[in-house]
Each structure stands twice: as structure tokens, then as C-alpha cells.
Symmetry: C2
Subunit: 345 residues, 2 copies
């Protein structure tokens, strides 16, 4: 039985339910001795955490697709870690795993947790740890099943995706291109727009912060929109609703423009375009597709390997920077999948 030096586990806990954007005082910085794994359990050292818009929803009280993070609970976060100690036959020290690790340096998981957290070994040949949080992780899975299953995108379709330079958007757009669609992104600022067109091969990208995005969308989609993959909600959702084609599919993946509202969510006032166009708007939660993740990982890692798909992560160092890092998602400052590096491999 291997032993470990006495280690301290830095953690960030939810101290208060935020009103609007989370403030520093909504967090508590705590430290406790590293727990030892139970029989059948694992002790994992966090390497990198995924920062996701959905985290904002987990901080609110009320019914959602998963229970909220409780006050004083370690903030929930998906991440990549390395097994330090294993009491589980399926894992050995040194294995890299993807799991719900929480915003902390170390995570001890019991055998029930291992199942519940969706923990699995990552295959380093298929992608870097950062890519396992991006194209091969939840954002990539969300893009894959959202675009192909919910959105039913097919060759020749005109596909629009908002948050185009973000984690989900970058894979949605590239996958749509690979499937033979015409792809238009929506992103904030010329740097992101240039990148998705020049590097990722989108047909066009609309800078929603510049000029008249309504006219730009019309120009970029002269034949209308067959699939809209919505990560942002608000005015942009309404703008696209006004341009959809008959039988269009709108995938509701998120609504980042609305997550920090202190007023009610802005409903899409153009929703009757669904009626006129016999179109549909459908929500998705990636966890529903867990059985089919291997299929998506196989296809997406193949695209990464042969160069048809690129990935970009925006990496911030240091667990203690979590509160400020998270805010970058809501100000749109992140450029690519936002990752918090917690420890070197």
C-alpha cells in the first residue's frame, strides 16, 4: 500500500447564491486535509477544470436538470485528473481520468461516486487533457448530438451557430462544415470572427458587437437558416428566428445572455416564426446521450487527427483564479474553451 505525504486540499465553495454576476463574496476559499479513498474508491489530483456557462445555472436554487450546488458545498466542476491512489480494480495510479471533480485540488471518490460522476479513463492518444475538456469532452458531445440528433443537420443545410468561438460553437461549426453544410458563426469582435472563418473554415461570421448584425445575417444567409444552434438566447435568438426557413430546427443549448439577469428571462418575441415556418425549437442536455459518447469521441478524434478539425482552449492558471476566470464566460472575454489549469501533469 503506497502512502502519500500529508497534503492540503484547497477548495472553492459556494458561499452565497449570486444575484446577477457572481461576486468574490459568493465564494468561500477553504482548505482541508486530503481525504483517503474508501475501499473501491480513488484519490484523484485535479489537473484542469472545465469552466462552463452551465455552472451559473447550478448556482441557482430551484428545479433544473440537476440539483443546484448547495451552500457551502465545493463548487461542481468537470475536470481532468490523475489517479494518485486506487482502491478500485479498474484504475491504477497514473491513469488520467475525466470526472466531476469539483473546484478543488484533490478529489476522493467512493465507488458509488465513480459511477455517478461519469468518471472514465481518457485515452491520451486521442487528444490532450485540454481537448478532453473541449472537443472530446462535454462541449464536443453537446455539439455533436445537438447538431446531428436534435438539429438534424444534413449536407446543404444553412447552419448558424452563436458563441461560435466558444467551446461548443467551435465544434458545432466545424462539424457542420465537415458534414457539408454552409456555416455561419455569430461571435463578438473581429478577432474571434476572423479566427472562425480563417482557421476553422466557417463560410462567414457575424460580429454581433459591430454594425447591424441583422443585415449581416441576411447577407450571410441569403437562403435563410435551416439549423440554428443557440448558445446565447436574447436578441440574437430573435434575430435568427426572423430568418429561419420552413421546417427549420433551433437547438436550445444555452442562453448565456440571460444567465445573470436580475430581471425575468427575455422570451423570444419572434417565436411565432416557428408557426409560420412549421419550425421547431428543442432543448437538449448532453447527459442524455452518454451511451453514445464513444461514437462521438471516435468521430471527433478522427477529425482532430486528420486535421479537418481544430480546437482552441483559453487556459487560465491557478485554482485561486476560478472566480474571475468564470466571469470571462459572461463578458465574452474567453476565446475558445475556457480551462482552469490547477496542476501540472
Amino acid at each position: 500500500m503506497n502512502t502519500l505525504p500529508k497534503l492540503s486540499n484547497q477548495q472553492i465553495r459556494l458561499a452565497a447564491r449570486p444575484v446577477g454576476l457572481p461576486k468574490r463574496s459568493d465564494w468561500a476559499f477553504t482548505s482541508e486535509p486530503v481525504a483517503q479513498p474508501e475501499p473501491g474508491g480513488l484519490l484523484i489530483k485535479t489537473l484542469a477544470l472545465s469552466l462552463d456557462p452551465a455552472m451559473r445555472g447550478w448556482m441557482n436554487e430551484g428545479k433544473s436538470y440537476i440539483p443546484p450546488v448547495a451552500i457551502n458545498e465545493v463548487m461542481r466542476a468537470a475536470g481532468i485528473g490523475v489517479v494518485l491512489k486506487s482502491n478500485h480494480a479498474g484504475f491504477a495510479p497514473g491513469d488520467q481520468v475525466s470526472a466531476s471533480l469539483g473546484v478543488q485540488q484533490y478529489c476522493a471518490l467512493g465507488s458509488a461516486d465513480i459511477k455517478r460522476s461519469g468518471l472514465f479513463k481518457i485515452d491520451a492518444r486521442l487528444g490532450t487533457p485540454n481537448q478532453w475538456l473541449n472537443v472530446l469532452g462535454m462541449p464536443g458531445m453537446t455539439a455533436y448530438f445537438g447538431l446531428l440528433d436534435v438539429g438534424q443537420a444534413k449536407a446543404g443545410d444553412s447552419v448558424v451557430v452563436s458563441g461560435a468561438a466558444g467551446a461548443v460553437g467551435q465544434t458545432v461549426g466545424q462539424l457542420a462544415r465537415i458534414k457539408g453544410c454552409r456555416v455561419v458563426g455569430i461571435a463578438g469582435g473581429p478577432a474571434k470572427c476572423d479566427w472562425v472563418v480563417k482557421e476553422l473554415g466557417f463560410d462567414a461570421c457575424i460580429d454581433y458587437k459591430a454594425g447591424n448584425p441583422r443585415d449581416a445575417l441576411k447577407a450571410a444567409c441569403p437562403k435563410g437558416v435551416d439549423v440554428y444552434f443557440d448558445n446565447v438566447g436574447g436578441e440574437i435568438l430573435d434575430m435568427v428566428l426572423a430568418r429561419i426557413n420552413r421546417k427549420a430546427r433551433i437547438v436550445i443549448c444555452g442562453a448565456i445572455s440571460q444567465y445573470n439577469n436580475t430581471t425575468p428571462v427575455q422570451g423570444p418575441k419572434n417565436y411565432l416564426s416557428l408557426l409560420v415556418n412549421r419550425a421547431r425549437m428543442e432543448g437538449m442536455v448532453v447527459f442524455d446521450y452518454a451511451d453514445r459518447f464513444p461514437q462521438a469521441v471516435a468521430e471527433l478524434s478522427g477529425c482532430l487527427r486528420d486535421g479537418r478539425m481544430k480546437s482552441r482552449e483559453d487556459v487560465i492558471d491557478g485554482l485561486q483564479n476560478f472566480p474571475e476566470a468564470l466571469l470571462k464566460l459572461f463578458t465574452g472575454e474567453n476565446f475558445g474553451k475556457l480551462v482552469l489549469r490547477v496542476a501540472a501533469e
Copy 2:
């Protein structure tokens, strides 16, 4: 060749595009000699016209699923008529037909019009002319394909329908009951609510004008909502969105609460319930199902014949009363399918 006495054709034309509720001055009352049918055409005497919420949309400028009624054009209306004169081999004087006749006493249709207007002979054995405008007409077809195709209602589902005592709602609810669903209506006032429960066999009906409809919906749907057939939009759509189940289907058939708005349409601020519940909201236009109308007519007329389904029409007499009659739809005064009787059979 049979001849007709010189007849005058009273007509109601769209004089101005209404702002809000249509006013008397938005209409022009005109009269012209009855036209003679072209070779291949028909002269039809209007018996009854269907008054539908969709008519309000046809009066607005702008792109929709059909072109707007032009200024000075006879107002568009579906109706039942009797053939007075036929130059078409498929029709004989005395045949009763369903067609887009317009708000006028007589309608001369050329052979191209006959095709375009969706004209067909009605079978008096299957239903009365009023029923051919209701359960066996567009409202019934809308109910049938909206509930079963778009809404995918199946036995055991919890189905909610707004405008429950209206033309579409009455058939949606009864058909859902026949298919083994639990059915809850939403209607205005105790008379309508009593009728849909006691006469039509709905499991419950919520009076949206009384008490707290939110609590009433919760009590009436303790297991949530699987299918919501929306005829009204606005606050009621939001109320139901807050109660939907996972994988729920919301059929967007209409939004009568919004048609006379002079402010922007109220978007559903609870639309993110679609995401949380992996649910969908889908628009429908009944004309898309024209090929399958015979199937629906066969099933629905069977239900009428064996007494499993009832129908109710709210009949107003006289072409000249069209402007006021139409308004009853928007004040919710009509009780059952609103029909304008233009002439005796």
C-alpha cells in the same frame, strides 16, 4: 344552358390594415352583379363562412404562410356553398362544396381557382355543413394533425389544450381523450369549463379568468404536462411551460392573445424550460397535411357518428354582421366554432 335571375353579390372587402382590433372602418361593404362562371368554372352560393383567428393575420402586411389579403380585396374566408351553375364535369348544381369562398354571397371560381382554393364536394352523410367547417373542416384537421403528428400524443399522456371550448380546442381534447390521454382544458368562464368537462369528457378545465390558474394547473396536472396544444400564447403559454415534463411537446397552433397587439408579441419568458426538460415547441400549418385530410375526416366522422365526439358551433346570421362576429373570437365571446350563416340551404 340554365340561366339565373340578375343577382346582386354583397361583399365585404378589406379597406384598411387594422391597428389592434379591426374596426368597422377597416371594412368596405360593396355590391356587384354576380359573375358568370368561366368555361371549366363554377358559380357557388355561400351558405356559411368559417370565422377563424388566423383571419387576423391575413389582414397584416408582411411575409407569412400565405400572402396577406390585399387592400380592396374581398376578405378571404373558408366556407361551405352550393353549386348554382357548373361548367365543370366534376360538379353539378346542388352539390355542396367546401372552398375558400371569401366574405361574399356568391363566388365564381375558374378552373385554376378550383384547384388552388382546395375546393371539394362535402359528403352530407358524414356531417352537417357546420360540422364541415368545424370537426371535419380546418379546425378538426388542425386538431388531428397537430395533436397526433406534431404533438405525438399517445395513451397515458397528460395533454393540456388552451382555447378548449373553441373550434380547434374542442376536437383536440376529445380526440386526446379517445386516444387514452388525460385531458385538461383551459378556457374562459364557468360555462365553457363546465361544458368541456361535462359534455366533452375532459378530465378537468381551468378557468383562466378565475382565481389562480397557475395553482389550478398544478392541481389538474399533478404529474406535469406531456403535450400542450397552444392556441393562445402569452401568459398561458408561460404558465404551461413551467409545468412541462421531460420530452414534452408543445404544439404552436396559434397565439390569439397576441394577434391584436399594438406592442411586440410577448415571447415566452419560460422558454428555457425546453432546455431543462429536453422538450420541443413546434409550429404547424394545417395546409401541409392536405394529402391526409381524407384519413382524418374518416376517423373524426366515425367518432361523430358513434357519439364519442360532439361538436358545437356558435352561429351568427347575416353577411353584414361579419365585422362584429369576427371580434367575438378576440374577446373570447364565441362558444364553440364561430360560423357566419350567409344563406339558407
